[in-house]
Amino acid sequence: MSSQDIPEENLPVAQADGADLEKHGENPFADPGLPPHEHRIQDIDERAAKRSERTVAFLFTLSMLATIGFIASYVAFPVDKSIYVWPIGHISALNFALGMTLGIALFCIGAGAVHWARTLMSDEEIADERHEISAPPEVKAKVLADFKQGAKESAMGRRKLIRNTMFGALTLVPLSGVVLLRDLGPLPEDKLRHTLWAKGKLLVNQNTNEPLRPADVAVGSLTFAKPEGLEEHDHDFQTQIAKAALMIVRLEPDDIKDKQELEWSHEGIVAYSKICTHVGCPISLYEQQTHHVLCPCHQSTFDLTDGARVIFGPAGHALPQLRIGVNEEGYLQALGDFEEPVGPAFWERG
């Protein structure tokens, strides 16, 4: 960074026009200086100036009227009144009236002020001198001397024990703040490894809140299920469904390519986690002819006939499958929890 890196003549300052000027006596590109001020029509014609004045006053008056309109709309329009405004459509009368009147009231103040400035205030350009930001050398010398004096008087440099212990104390004290953050949340432990699914839990249709039978699930249909016992009003419903949500489809058993998938299915009915293994969107864009499932968030695509293997997109591994069977009463039930964590991958997932 030091300036000796650069040959002085490479700096553009050395090529500035000043050099030309000296050599040739006259610079064809010389700065002619600020052009002379030209008058606007308002500067020389009082009638034009009056017109401008009236325009500005008109804008300010319009703003006043708009504000009155705003208050009137606030009082007049019920909050749920709908009107048809071409070409927008059916919209809230109140929102439209308030927004337009407020917009006009504000805009007219601004337009008035700017028109005033542009046409009636002086438009003569003025040049202001700049001053170098850096301090002159003598100021710098004074400051450095003062600093040295102060440092010397503090004896920071000489009494190293004080200095070092102070730095030590200052380094440690923020730790209290960091420690206080500990209770922001619990430790992960194995929370991400388990869901509500367990052996014998019935697969409950999310639409009807009734347990599903194999006969309910037709080939080509799509059904979403939750574990028996989990209700929308439960205080932890959101957290539980975020892991337990299930997507159920029936395939022709012959179409299933993956051996384990076939084993874990029941009569071609397969149950997969609805939570994408990428970053956890509820994946459920099931194409019943291709048997592909697409995630609407980031387009990871899984092949449901092949163990829900990833065939496109950013997901890193297949959707976890839930092993299902039928209980004595003929209802679909889980034969255990998912064997691997559902949802996005994480460091401890393994």
């Binding site: 407020l102 700049r130 992960p188 990428h278 956890g280 387009q299 950013p314 991958a345 393994g350």
Partner: protein, 544 residues
């Protein structure tokens, strides 16, 4: 009110305003402050007002935000909806969503303020990006303004995150999906990811804490920092005085324009009302984030077309086009498919932020610069800026790949592949093309200076040839077109000195020389016309 003879006489003569000012001066020293600033000069150019759009939309956001806090309940307790919007009657939702519904349908003007808040936020970040690129392309970031460049950059980054936290507060199905995405990204961080996620959400996702936590971050922490930075940014603008484009009478040592009082005050003050007025009108005409149509968040529900607000769109693009790499070893998972985009996300922004420092290192230029560059006169910088923007917009396309697919009847898979390739190729092509265009424009300027302006008048010479008459430029134009400086590329010099001893050249020096050659070498700028060239051409009339 008690009086003594002579001084009261004086005071009675002074008008009320002056007496108030005297009072304030005695305590705040306002006269000295006003002396330096009341007639401060600001140059006029539309592009200098982009920063004002940012400032004013920021103020509008704060004003409307305060109003919204009066009605919003940052709580995730589940309640049943019983407001006036029929299609959600009886649905379970968080209090956050419920209160946002209340603001939108039952508070008179609540919907308008919500829409102004959200539209202003989108415009705020957009204006910051455009303002930043204006500063970039004109070289306004050069000494002494590097620190202010960084302040502005930080404001952009903080603005994005303030926006993201705000977008998440209503706890609707769209924003909840966005939060889920963020949580998945946090989980991908090696070693500490799960811990971070648990601490951030107070346990497993979604838990019952994040709205309240995001709320304090959105309304207090981030805006507080931003307000401080905005003030510092403005103080520095005042302190450095504004930059200006080259022109007659404009030098590096002065600033030409209108005084703060009255012209600039009227224009800038008026512009605040204009910005507010435009945003209010937009909020009357166009709906934004209609949460009633989106519904309350549930982690097992989703809609297609799930996107973040536009300023997070490039991160969405990154994550959408990344291949699903995942490494499993020794009982651990490295989620590269998510973690790499998470790392590239800040790097995209940092890439543009570090340019001023690279440029100043390469040029070694330590002088103050107050005259702006025309973008064409800094071809490498301009090309770099355009390449960066291209990169950014390619990622935005990736972030909206599903809508591109449906609206242009394309395959989503092809678009993803296009973005994957364009991510690497696009910026390079943009760089090369932009540089060519800049050099072409430089040549044209040079021609204009040396041969004059094409007048459009066709003249037929006696022997039948048609020529176009070129008019010489005015002195003002001649000066303006030649006022820019041109750096010479850095030469390392001979590596062996006159005594035959090999001189050691550090690797960084070699790199600097290479970059300098790239930025200022023959391929990268057209030497501007010299006085000699001009005189030679203008004295001999025969050829043009």
């Amino acid at each position: 009110m008690s009086t003594t003879t002579s001084s009261t006489d004086n005071k009675r003569k002074a008008p009320a305003g002056e007496r108030v000012a005297d009072w304030a001066d005695g305590r705040l020293g306002i006269y000295s402050l006003a002396k330096a600033n009341m007639r401060k000069i600001f140059p006029d150019h539309w592009s200098f007002m982009l920063g004002e759009i940012c400032l004013y939309s920021f103020i509008i956001i704060i004003l409307t935000g305060v109003y919204l806090t009066l009605f919003f309940h940052p709580s995730m307790n589940e309640v049943e909806y019983h407001g006036s919007y029929v299609p959600l009657q009886g649905q379970l939702m968080s209090e956050a969503f419920n209160s946002t519904m209340h603001i939108s349908f039952d508070v008179r003007g609540g919907l308008l303020i919500r829409q102004i808040h959200h539209w202003a936020a989108l415009i705020f970040v957009a204006a910051m990006l455009v303002h930043m690129m204006r500063v970039f392309f004109t070289g306004a970031f050069r000494k002494p303004r590097e620190v202010n460049w960084l302040f502005g950059f930080l404001l952009l980054v903080l603005g994005m995150f303030t926006g993201f936290t705000g977008y998440s507060l209503p706890d609707d199905l769209l924003s909840g999906t966005g939060v889920r995405f963020m949580q998945g990204a946090v989980l991908s961080v090696p070693i500490v990811g799960t811990y971070l996620s648990m601490f951030l959400f107070g346990g497993e996702f979604p838990g019952g804490d994040f709205v309240a936590r995001f709320y304090s971050v959105h309304i207090l922490l981030l805006p507080g920092i931003m307000l401080g930075l905005v003030v510092a940014h403005l103080i520095l603008v005042f302190y450095h005085k504004h930059t200006q484009f080259a022109g007659p009478g404009k030098t590096n040592k002065n600033v030409v324009g209108m005084p703060l009082l009255p012209v600039y005050m009227a224009k800038a003050g008026g512009f605040f009302f204009l910005v507010f007025g435009v945003i209010a009108a937009i909020s009357a005409l166009a709906s934004i984030n209609p949460i009633w149509a989106l519904g309350p968040y549930r982690p097992d529900q989703v809609s297609t077309g799930a996107q973040p607000d536009w300023y997070m769109g490039f991160s969405e693009g990154l994550i959408r086009v990344m291949p699903g790499w995942e490494i499993n070893a020794w009982g651990h998972t490295l989620v590269l498919g998510v973690f790499i985009p998470l790392i590239i996300f800040p790097l995209v922004l940092v890439t543009i932020a570090v340019w001023p420092f690279i440029e100043s290192w390469v040029t070694g230029d330590k002088r103050e610069h107050h005259i702006l560059d025309r973008p064409r006169n800094a071809p490498t910088r301009t090309a770099f800026g355009v390449a960066w923007l291209t990169w950014y917009f390619i990622l935005l396309i990736g972030g909206g790949n599903d809508l591109w697919a449906t609206h242009f009847h394309l395959s989503i898979n092809s678009i993803t592949w296009f973005v994957r390739i364009a991510f690497f190729v696009g910026p390079v092509i943009a760089f090369i093309i932009t540089k060519r265009i800049c050099l072409g424009l430089q040549r044209r300027d040079k021609d204009k200076v040396l041969h004059g302006r094409e007048s459009g008048i066709i003249k037929r010479l006696p022997h039948g040839e048609f020529i176009e008459v070129h008019e010489p430029l005015s002195q003002e134009a001649l000066h303006t077109l030649t006022a820019h400086e041109q750096h010479k590329p850095l030469e390392l010099g001979p590596t062996v000195d006159e005594n035959g001893v090999e001189r050691k050249v550090k690797g960084t020096q070699k790199l600097k020389a290479k970059l300098s050659q790239g930025m200022y070498g023959e391929e990268s700028q057209i030497p501007k016309p010299t006085a000699d060239e001009y005189k030679e051409i203008t004295s001999g009339h025969g050829h043009h």
